[in-house]
């Protein structure tokens, strides 16, 4: 007889034997469904996003290579661009800056993002306007194509005139779609596209104006963006002003990096979902095994070897696991279609949802594997069930105690650990993070196991004769032979641990977002205020009955030397121990000077703030920057302030809350050093209502067309809207993961249910009342639920802290409520299931249960 024929026959036995238990087994194995669903949805979605980014990346960048600079390109760069154009390289240019836009007829104003573009911009992708020809025909005259929001907020129409500085443009159309458009860009600074031929007429680009100069390049045939970058980057980075170069590939990386945080969170959710599924499978199958003791004993009598028995049930479990995983994959695909909808407006690209076969296959594969490995552990004990049980049936617990002494359990246990590590690795993509996740889970398992043993021990001590019978009975159930304390605490506790971790992380991520929305005292900010305009602006604000909250001077500067060593020499330092990060040495700083520390958004973490009246040149540096610059208190830093060198001593390090809508600074000077330097101002003012803000903005722009202003309430509302989308996405995923916990709990309780049922029926036969049986169950399940939940929740605080610190790289505050809610909900559920079992006791007639025994 061939081996395959014999396997076929055994499979047939497995199929027939599963007949009445199929649905039950499917229920247990389908714990894996939610995990697979999460995996398939998340992986498909991630794949969709990266495919979309890849497909749209040239359009998103607008060309093969993007050159940007904070100031007009140097002559050397312009000359290079001209020569490139002559040799067939496509070149298109854009200059963008913020400015106040004024509708000529009404005088209504709004900060707009002016984008002065050359013909042929963008090289790739398409800017869609309505009417359609408007954007293409823009270069024929002083035309502007603007975001619809400009028309709405300024109460204007196509055909009206838009004043930008001293130039007047005819609005000929509205923007319908701009590649790479994030909703938030249009909301904070709605765009106005004009032809760059009329840029100078606006007179807006004055000293200190923040403008970005861009050139898009299309590589000629045969020249790759990377090779181009390699050849010309030295020229660009040494040019003054420095020119940054970005290729399509780099842009892609950037875009995907932006959604990394989301990816990290989703990856975590997927892993947790899968593990919860695995735990659900393990405890469900354990309950299933208890029901199969008799059948297995008979099979053994009939000559089935332990291998044959195991094979029969592994085949059943694998088949049901596959069905469960398939159900999960189908739901995952459905879920995948909802994700882009939930995250719309937050993603940098239009995500086209497509079936991702590799993600589906991976989800199915991992799902079935996890299901089978986790099922294998309880199934193993079937190998050791003695045929003697046919003659003399012992209690389930006794049978299992003997059956679980199996060295193969070690092998399977090892396989489970290895699988957890492997799955964690596929989720995290970095070795140390994967190992970290797995280690945290193992620590949690061990801790929960200890807690369970502790509970069993305590219950032995607690169950004193003086205690009421029902309570004593319930508590004693926790340490009696055949108790399920360890199994329930482990699965319930691990479930709570994983879910509460997700919630802790979610809460912390949301708190961060919330912080960013913290209200500032001012509701309108004016910037690009020139030195000679500051006083005039101040009086306009006060004359209109509003108040100036803060005026901050802004002085652009660069680092010239640290402790007498020039920037050039510092940059040449290649020693990783002493090297200061290059970007901090090269960048332009917009610094300020003031007497006092800004309360609320700053605090000193090292050194001391200058004494009032101290006029020696000192600086206070933001902590991250100070670290990147490797500054130590007392260092002297020489600054190049528009060609004049100023040296100041570093005397304090500050922690800055950047999220506040207030001007914050990397470097603050003590008063007395920069007063003479060329500077501009940012002025924060407060006006009681929205119309008053608008009126104030109008009167300022009328007098000083170069001054831009922002209505902060508008921005806060807009950012709030976007953040809401992110939070609801995170919340949605967290909610789903709560659902993952429920099958786990059901499976965990199912394992004890039969024994408790039998016991309850026996008690009933002996005269226990419904209330007594109910109370016994209540005591037992409440204790189990509470201890499992509390231990799990406590452990989750630790894991969430580690996650926030190392994965999300931000601060952590333990979120008490999520932990309490998850733990409370699970305890409640445990009690409810326990009581439902108690109720069932009264539906069963004693005979049914006794005959079974």
């Amino acid at each position: 007889m061939s081996g395959s024929a014999s396997l076929r026959r055994l499979t047939a036995v497995a199929w027939r034997e599963s007949r009445t238990a199929r649905r039950r087994l499917l229920l247990y194995m389908s714990s894996i469904s939610l995990g697979v669903a999460a995996l398939v949805a998340i992986d498909s979605f991630t794949e969709n996003v990266s495919t979309s980014v890849q497909n749209q990346s040239r359009a998103l960048l607008g060309g093969d290579v993007l050159l940007t600079s904070r100031a007009k390109f140097a002559d050397t760069v312009t000359a290079l661009l001209d020569s490139l154009r002559r040799t067939g390289t496509g070149v298109a240019r854009q200059t963008q800056f913020a400015s106040m836009g004024v509708i000529a007829s009404s005088g209504n104003t709004r900060l707009v993002q002016v984008r002065a573009v050359s013909r042929g911009y963008p090289i790739y992708g398409e800017i869609v306007s309505a009417p359609a020809p408007a954007f293409g025909n823009m270069h024929e005259g002083r035309h502007a194509v603007v975001d619809p929001s400009i028309l709405i907020s300024l109460d204007a129409n196509i055909g009206d005139s838009l004043m930008l500085g001293s130039a007047r443009f005819l609005i000929t159309g509205t923007l319908q779609a701009v590649p790479g458009d994030l909703g938030i860009t249009a909301a904070i600074g709605p765009r106005a596209y004009v032809s760059d031929r009329y840029l100078d007429e606006t007179g807006l680009l004055v000293f200190g104006s923040r403008a970005e100069y861009e050139a898009l390049l299309r590589m000629p045939e045969g020249l790759s963006p990377a090779r181009f970058a390699g050849r010309f980057n030295p020229l660009f980075s040494s040019a003054s002003p420095r020119v940054r170069l970005r290729t399509v590939a780099e842009n892609e990386n950037n875009l995907t990096r932006n959604i990394d945080q989301l990816g990290n969170f989703l990856g975590l959710v997927g892993l947790v979902a899968l593990l919860l599924g695995g735990i659900g499978v393990a405890s469900g199958v354990h309950a299933f095994v208890l029901r199969k003791i008799d059948t297995v004993a008979v099979l053994r009598c009939l000559g089935a070897t332990s291998g044959q028995v195991l094979f029969i049930y592994v085949v059943q479990a694998a088949a049901m696991g596959l069905i469960g995983a398939l159900i999960g994959a189908v739901s995952g695909v459905a879920l995948q279609y909802t994700l882009p909808w939930i995250l719309k407006g937050f993603l940098p690209v239009d995500v086209s949802v497509r079936l991702a076969p590799s993600a589906i296959a991976t989800g199915l594969g991992i799902g079935v594997w996890v299901a089978v490995v986790f099922a294998l552990y309880p199934l193993l004990s079937l190998r050791r069930i003695s045929p003697l049980q046919t003659l003399r049936r012992e209690s389930d617990a006794d049978v299992m105690r003997q059956a679980q002494r199996d060295s193969a359990g070690l092998v399977v246990g090892f396989a489970i650990v290895a699988s957890v590590i492997a799955v964690a690795l596929t989720r995290t993509r970095t070795l140390e993070r994967g190992l970290g996740y797995a280690a945290a889970i193992i620590v949690a398992v061990v801790a929960l196991g200890l807690a369970a043993d502790g509970l069993a021990r305590i219950s032995r001590w607690l169950a004193r004769p003086q205690l009421a019978f029902v309570l004593r009975q319930g508590i004693a159930n926790l340490h009696r032979p055949g108790n399920q304390t360890r199994a329930v605490i482990l699965s319930l506790g691990l479930g709570v641990f994983l879910m509460s971790t997700i919630y802790q992380v979610q809460q912390n991520l949301m708190d961060q977002l919330d912080m960013k929305l913290e209200r500032s005292r001012a509701n309108v900010v004016f910037f690009d205020v020139q030195d000679d305009q500051e006083r005039g602006l101040d009086s306009i604000v006060r004359a209109s009955g509003n108040s100036v909250v803060q005026t901050a001077a802004i002085v652009p500067m660069r680092i010239a030397a640290i402790n007498g060593v020039s920037t050039t020499d510092l940059l040449a330092d290649r020693n990783p121990e002493t090297r200061r990060s290059p970007w901090t040495l090269r960048r332009e700083y917009r610094s300020t000077f003031r007497e006092e520390l800004a309360t609320g958004s700053e605090k000193i973490v090292e050194g001391t703030w200058w004494e009032p009246g101290d006029r020696s040149p000192q600086i206070s540096v933001e902590q991250d920057l100070a670290q990147d610059l490797r500054l130590t208190l007392g260092d002297s830093v020489t600054w190049d302030v528009q060609g004049v060198e100023v040296t100041a001593r570093y005397t304090s390090m500050r922690e800055v809350t950047w999220a506040r809508f207030e001007p914050n600074f990397f470097v603050v000077f003590s008063p007395g050093t920069l007063e003479r330097a060329p500077k501009q101002f940012a002025v924060l003012a407060s006006a009681p209502t929205s119309p008053e803000v608008a009126a104030l903005q109008r009167s300022v722009v009328r007098k000083y067309p170069n001054v831009s202003s922002l209505d902060l309430t508008l921005i806060q509302a807009t950012i709030g809207g976007v953040l809401n989308k992110i939070t609801s996405a995170i919340r949605f995923m967290a909610l789903i993961s709560l659902a993952f916990g429920i099958p786990v709990l059901f499976s965990a309780v199912a394992a004890t249910r039969r024994a408790r049922l039998r016991e309850g029926v026996l008690l009933k036969t002996l005269g226990a009342t419904r209330r007594q049986v109910g109370r016994i169950m209540l005591a037992e399940y409440a204790l189990l639920g509470a201890l499992g939940s509390v231990s799990g929740a406590a452990l989750s605080v630790g894991s969430a802290w580690l996650l926030m610190k190392f994965v999300f790289e931000s601060s952590f505050t333990p979120a008490i409520w999520p932990a309490v809610i998850v733990a409370g909900a699970m305890t409640m559920l445990a009690v409810v299931i326990g009581l439902a079992t108690g109720r069932e006791v009264f539906r069963e007639t004693p005979m049914v249960a006794l005959r079974e025994a």
């Binding site: 007889m1 024929a5 014999s6 026959r9 055994l10 047939a12 036995v13 027939r16 034997e17 599963s18 007949r19 009445t20 238990a21 008799d294 059948t295 004993a297 008979v298 099979l299 053994r300 009598c301 009939l302 000559g303 089935a304 070897t305 332990s306 291998g307 044959q308 003695s386 045929p387 003697l388 046919t390 003659l391 003399r392």
Partner: protein
């Protein structure tokens, strides 16, 4: 062909050991029909478990067809059971999820034999259940269930059949018919039948009675009625 030599079985009980069987020895020839009798707690079931290789003795050995069970591991004994041993239990022990014919097929399938279905149908017809093939155990009466169990026991033509109180859960009429069936199969197929019972009337229908008391064999004698093999005798000889 089946021999027990100095079989002793002890169980740990608190700090001392409880001896359930002590130095039990006997030999049972192929094709014989033997009863093991004794009051409750005399060690009958323990002895049956040891003889069938379901359990291992503390001391002594069981030899079945020249195979020493004490030298085999659990899986080797399982294979031996599959090939040579059949069981009939007091509580039938049918697999509730399988139909009558499927229950009978199981031992054949475990051995990977061809034609399992035909064989099973054939045996069930012989025990008079040809019209009940596709019924589940719960749809059958106690007597019918026991007949399925007997059909299952004989489906792989065992060298030896162990029956543990096979009529214990049945009324006397049904019980009688079960015993007849065992007698018939014993004589037709030449299988050894070892019947464990506390019912002396039932034991009297075998050819040899081994009496156990407190774990020791107190007598081992041929019965008068069962001195010669019976060929398809009519019922009721008691």
């Amino acid at each position: 062909m089946l021999s027990a030599k100095d079989l002793t079985k002890e169980y740990p009980s608190g700090d001392h050991r409880l001896t359930v069987l002590r130095d039990v020895s006997f030999t049972i020839e192929q094709g014989s029909f033997v009863a093991i009798v004794g009051p409750s707690g005399s060690g009958k079931t323990t002895l049956l478990g040891l003889l069938a290789g379901l359990d291992t003795p503390s001391r002594g050995r069981v030899t079945l067809d020249d195979a020493d069970l004490s030298l085999m591991d659990e899986d080797q004994r399982a294979r031996l059971r599959g090939e040579k041993v059949g069981f009939v239990f007091q509580s039938f022990q049918l697999i509730p999820t399988l139909t009558a014919i499927e229950n009978v097929q199981v031992p054949l399938e475990l051995r990977g034999e061809e034609g399992a279905t035909e064989r099973a149908r054939d045996v069930l017809q012989r025990v008079g259940l040809g019209d009940r093939l596709d019924h589940f155990p719960t749809q059958l009466s106690g007597g019918e269930q026991q007949r399925v169990a007997i059909a299952r026991a004989f489906s792989n033509k065992p060298r030896i059949l162990f029956a543990d109180e096979p009529t214990g859960n049945l009324d006397s009429d049904t019980g009688n018919r079960i015993v007849e069936l065992l007698e018939q199969l014993n004589s037709e197929s030449g299988s050894t039948v070892v019947l464990v019972t506390h019912d002396l009337g039932l034991a009297g229908r075998t050819r040899r009675i081994i009496r156990l008391s407190d774990g020791v064999v107190v007598s081992d004698q041929p019965t008068t009625t069962g001195a010669t093999p019976r060929q398809n005798e009519p019922t009721e000889t008691r």
